[in-house]
Subunit: 743 residues, 2 copies
């Protein structure tokens, strides 16, 4: 009986098991089994992967990248530049640690160089051109790096060649107001003006001078502005500290536009139409040459005439006179003139971008772009190789995960190593011109890390307000360099903060309203949500305009590793922060872009505009109501979209719903583009972030138009204020329309 | 034993069943069951639904729509227009047959009207202004419709008010060449020119005249151009036939731009900035007035001077003389002058678009837009109410299916009933300005059906080449009106055909290069794939420029139902064709847009350009190679995308793959936009389809730039040819980049 019962139970169990197996495997469920992609499309960012990424980012790797990149000077299109191209390609094509694909893209661009055989000269000459004094033609060398024959002579790129001789005057920073004031005392016709860096754009120092009859310009860096006043290389400046030695000269592009100058709005390919060189605007109309402060000291301290205002004084231990014009009677240079012999020449040169991609798995047609320029003025350890070293470490870590099959991002990642940035953001601008439509349609965000580390005190971040949140998230997960158990975020908020109506006390993210690096074309021409980060100064410790070796022959590996970031820990923090943001942008199910934070910035701008302008506009019957209405519509649309995101179970809904929301977020900045909003500003189309000369924290076109109308008083200029208000209101309302329910 | 066996079997069976049930329902399969949306996102267009749609489209409903729409004259912004607004809203908000939602959108637009109290006058006056002859102030009435006090006096909208008196001359069509030739014989200063419609735009007849000193212009429709020569209303013209009666006058907008004239690129809202009226361009600088051919006959046949060339002659049984200037000595009008007293005035008026939507189920953020204007000059039975009647029938059939829960399109459908088209496509243009970004990002296609039926012989279709295939597919499924077992397609190919390298003998689809109807802003400003269809003439049977009652008081329900489309069967065929295309665009899994057909058109254009221009361009060292390369890249990218579509099992892959391909197809036309390509052409941005004056079947900007350079011979004009070649090559290559693998 027991046996029978056991047999019965066994049989029953077998039959039951058979049934279960048949039921489970033998019968298709009515709604079918889920296709394999259902899980893939719903996948969100993996926090473990981010942890792993953070732990793999290696400061020593960054240091070795930098050592390699700075072996030789690598000014755009030189042999040294080509070496860096090859290095990038080798790394990005490495089968173990490289990207899916990497290649170069070339453009024929218009560059300006000095002549190595006929160096530019700045001299003080007496009668019959007796040379009384000659400014240094090259910087003094302290290490073997600086003796490299490929170190380019300090020069002002795009300064015309020419010979100018005249009495010297001191014109402070070369701003319009500086020349105006100077001209009240001195007849500027036929003079040479010496100016200091700062206050005005490089080219503007010459452009502003020419209308007064000035025939040549010198520019130098005052120790007050760069060295906290220190001047001696015996014990104060590099190689004793990070400060600029007396012979150091900041090179630069004296070009106020961005992109190749001969091919506006067109990618500079071989057969592309080029405007005539006479039609180039925004470059110096008269020769200009940068010199070191040791030479400037000699010239300025000998100047005659009356004393310039206190605000014009730098750190020299002498009175900064306007100039008689010319030198003072007691000077050995009395009656002498300053002579500029400039032999710069322009050339069409082949410049390369190096491009690399990691293909997206789920949405390959969505791009997160990460870039930095590759070209430097000399060795460029900080500018730009600190950023390139960081980018290479990012691609090593991410590339290795891809090659090992451990990761593939949801969206595609494009890395760009831009060429010829120093001459005017040329490589990135040509890239955006060539691929305008594709990039406009598909780019989620652009991350720029140019100079990764200016100094090792704190993070500095600028970008569209929609990125604020993901920047915060990432910085909270990264340790601040040199501090125990303090995050980059917690450190940052001590240095730069603000009070947000929505978030309270938070770090302050700046705006990208200028064209200081390769984000310019992405922000202003394409309207792509962009950001730029770096590690930077403790402003309580230095007033330096920028790190003192900027654009000099002293920006070397030695300098970077000794004075900017010993141990490369700030580089590491930037790599971790940027990479964290990059992974979140590439992998998050819902894009980490917050439109309500954008609304907050628009409201800020609106409040400023109302308080600055409304009274005077009302008097002219120009209503600000449409602008107020537009900003309010934007706020309410943003709140609504946030609510849709919050209340949806997006991982379980059709992937087309996530895509729809992500498209709303991705394309938001595109709504602010108006190709006709700034007829006088080349390639500025973003009505919220365009550059502005009015210096008000509000809508740039409105601020400029208002300042212009206020100064001219002409009714046609007030019309332009009204016109721009309409442009702005329509753009903001148009943006709001994209955030509401799609239909 | 048997009992036991039975019990055993029963028990076993129950256990087995229990097992099956547990196995099937109790255990989740490893890859889960498919979410309900998996099927929805893969759904393709339903051919049964299209069959049902075709069968439901009712000619009698269309007829009754037309009857209702044409009850009273409904010129833009008049009370009659408001009646049609209410009618559309009522229909689209109908709970049984309406749309998901319908509303109106208003714009304050700049319109031009005659003064009902001071009608415009055209007289022949002798010395001391004795009136010898007065042209008709209104058209003769044959039906009660035409007696409606709301019938607007024939006038030239945007002609300035003013009084002009001078000797009459005959200037043919008022083309530049016409005035040039006339001026060789007659001193035109102080004259009044009479011109006939055709050859030049309405406003151009006055714009071209003014530089010669002409002070006023008349325009009439020659019976040769509209009536196949017939003139008598006793037995030849309406009400005896479709021909224009002797007093019939074509009204029109004498405005060569599109969109509201005071708010370029801005939606005309109350507070929007408006340019000063003096800054309006493209409208007549001197008074102009249209008259009937019975008056023109009296004036022209009395003219003195020498005989105009044969090509200038119309159908009048007299010699068309140039004018002495003025009348011939034998005329009763000898020495008399013609006087224009024009009392037009301009006004800001509130014009409404009526909008309606059917929400998409799967991709609500993708729009198929279908539109037509609602405003007419008088009763507007054909223009535009034939199209509106068709649109209302479409929305009735589709709306009913939606309300009954039988259908919801994959993508959203937007219907637009545009206001103030007759004054310059204003309602549609303002709409595209207001919603620029949203529409650019999301619109799959725009279908325009304005005049649905010009005549009942054959289909006429124009549009982007990518739409050719879906137009063919739809027309093969619709019966040709009045023919047994012949499709619209088979009938069409007899009237208009061409040989395609890819498809052989096919009907000819035209291009949308002008601004003849509301597609203009969609094509030229937004770069949205667009089409326009109608039923039209047998050109072997008539030479009429257009249907003869066009813009006259005779364009009534009576006229339409008697002479244009008795039985409304051509209307029905257009409704079926347009609706079929609409459903396919809204419901197809893969968008029915073919990029290889676009490549064929580009190759056509390229071949023409090479044969017309290459020789001369080579001589100037302007290479066409970049253009050839761009077109070849486009072709190869299109072939590749076609292959991807063909080889993919899209219904079973992630919906994001279909979306990606559909985005490539949807956004293709956007790649051809360049806001800087045509600096002199308002709101023309599409480099392939912009208007052109050169009259060559090739790239419009290239053709115009070449013609201009050839005629001026200036090197700066040849530079513009080179520049435009670069613009064009970059746009086409940019488009190709969007069609290749997304990464």
């Amino acid at each position: 009986m027991i046996k029978q019962v056991l047999i019965g139970i066994l049989c029953g169990a077998s039959v039951l098991t058979a049934g279960i197996l048949i039921g489970h495997y033998g019968i298709t469920k009515s709604n079918g089994s889920a296709p394999s992609w259902v899980k893939d499309v719903a996948k969100d960012v993996d926090e473990n992967l981010i942890e792993k990424f953070l732990s793999e980012v290696d400061n020593i790797q960054i240091q070795e990248n930098l050592r390699e990149l700075t072996k030789v000077p690598h000014m755009a299109t030189t042999a040294g530049d080509e070496q860096t191209v090859q290095f990038m390609l080798k790394r990005w094509q490495d089968p173990e640690t490289g990207l899916d694909q990497a290649w170069r893209e070339e453009y024929m661009v218009y560059l300006s160089f000095p002549d190595p055989k006929k160096p530019n000269k700045v001299t003080v000459v007496g009668s019959s051109d007796t040379v009384l004094y000659t400014a240094r033609e090259k910087e003094k060398s302290y290490t073997s790096d600086q003796d490299d024959p490929e170190v380019v002579q300090p020069y002002a790129a795009y300064s015309p060649a020419g010979h100018a001789k005249g009495k010297l005057v001191y014109a402070n920073q070369g701003k319009p107001s500086d020349y105006q004031l100077l001209n009240e005392t001195v007849d500027l016709r036929g003079t040479i003006a010496i100016t200091r860096y700062g206050g005005a754009g490089r080219a503007d120092k010459a452009i502003n001078a020419a209308p007064y009859g000035v025939i040549g310009v010198l520019v130098y860096t005052d120790p007050l502005d760069i060295n906290d006043g220190l001047m001696s290389d015996i014990n104060e400046t590099y190689p004793h500290s990070w400060y600029m030695p007396p012979s150091g000269v900041e090179r630069g592009s004296f070009n106020s536009r961005y992109g190749d100058l001969l091919t506006p709005y067109l990618a500079a390919k071989d057969e592309t139409y080029r405007i005539s060189t006479e039609n180039i605007t925004g470059i110096p109309p008269i020769p200009i040459q940068p010199i070191g402060f040791e030479d400037a000291y000699r010239l300025i301290c000998e100047l005659g005439g009356t004393a310039a205002p206190a605000a014009w004084h730098g750190a020299f231990n002498c009175t900064y006179n306007f100039g008689g014009p010319g030198f003072k009677p007691t000077s050995a240079f009395n009656n002498s003139e300053v002579k500029l012999d400039i032999f710069n020449h322009e050339e069409l040169k082949n410049s390369s971008n190096v491009m690399g991609v990691i293909r997206g798995s789920v949405e390959p047609d969505r791009y997160v772009i990460y870039g930095n320029h590759r070209d430097s003025w000399v060795h460029g350890a900080i500018d730009p190789s600190s950023g390139t070293s960081v980018m290479l470490e990012l691609t090593r870590v991410l590339g290795t995960m891809v090659k090992q099959g451990k990761w593939r991002p949801r969206r595609s990642i494009i890395f760009g190593s831009w060429g010829a940035e120093e001459f005017g953001l040329i490589g990135s601008a040509e890239y955006t011109e060539q691929y305008f439509t594709k990039l406009s349609e598909r780019t989620v965000a652009y991350i720029n890390v140019d100079i990764a580390v200016f100094a090792n005190a704190t993070l500095r971040a600028s970008g569209m307000p929609s990125l604020q949140n993901v920047i915060f998230k990432a910085t909270k997960q990264v340790d601040a360099p040199g501090l125990d158990s303090t995050s980059v975020y917690d450190n940052w908020i001590r240095y730069a903060n603000r009070t947000s109506p929505a978030h309270g006390h938070i770090p302050k993210v700046g705006y990208l309203s200028g064209a200081g690096s390769d984000y310019a074309a992405f922000v202003h021409y394409l309207g792509i949500t962009s950001m730029d980060i770096s590690y930077t100064y403790d402003r309580s410790k230095t007033n330096a305009r920028i790190y003192p070796a900027y654009h000099t022959a002293y920006d070397t590996f030695d300098y970077a590793s000794m004075f900017i970031d010993p141990g490369f820990v700030s580089h590491q923090a930037i790599a971790r922060t940027a990479g964290n943001i990059l992974i979140r942008l590439a992998d998050s199910l819902v894009l980490p872009l917050n439109c309500s934070d954008y609304a907050e910035s628009l409201e800020d701008y609106l409040n400023t505009a109302v308080s600055l302008y409304q009274h005077q506009l009302q008097a002219r019957e120009i209503s600000m109501e449409p602008l107020k209405y537009a900003v309010a519509s934007f706020r309410s649309a943003a709140t609504h979209l946030d609510e849709v995101i919050r209340s949806s179970d997006l991982a379980n809904e059709t992937p087309l719903k996530v895509r729809r929301i992500n498209d709303q977020l991705m394309l938001l900045d595109r709504a602010f583009l108006d190709p006709l909003a700034f007829p006088d500003k080349y390639a500025y189309r973003h009505v919220i972030w365009a550059s502005s000369s009015a210096g008000k924290p509000t809508f740039p076109g409105l601020a400029d138009a208002f300042a212009n109308a206020e100064s001219s008083g002409q009714s046609s200029d007030w019309d332009k204020v009204h016109y721009h208000l309409s442009v702005l209101s329509q753009a903001i309302e148009g943006a709001a329309h994209t955030l509401v329910d799609v239909i």
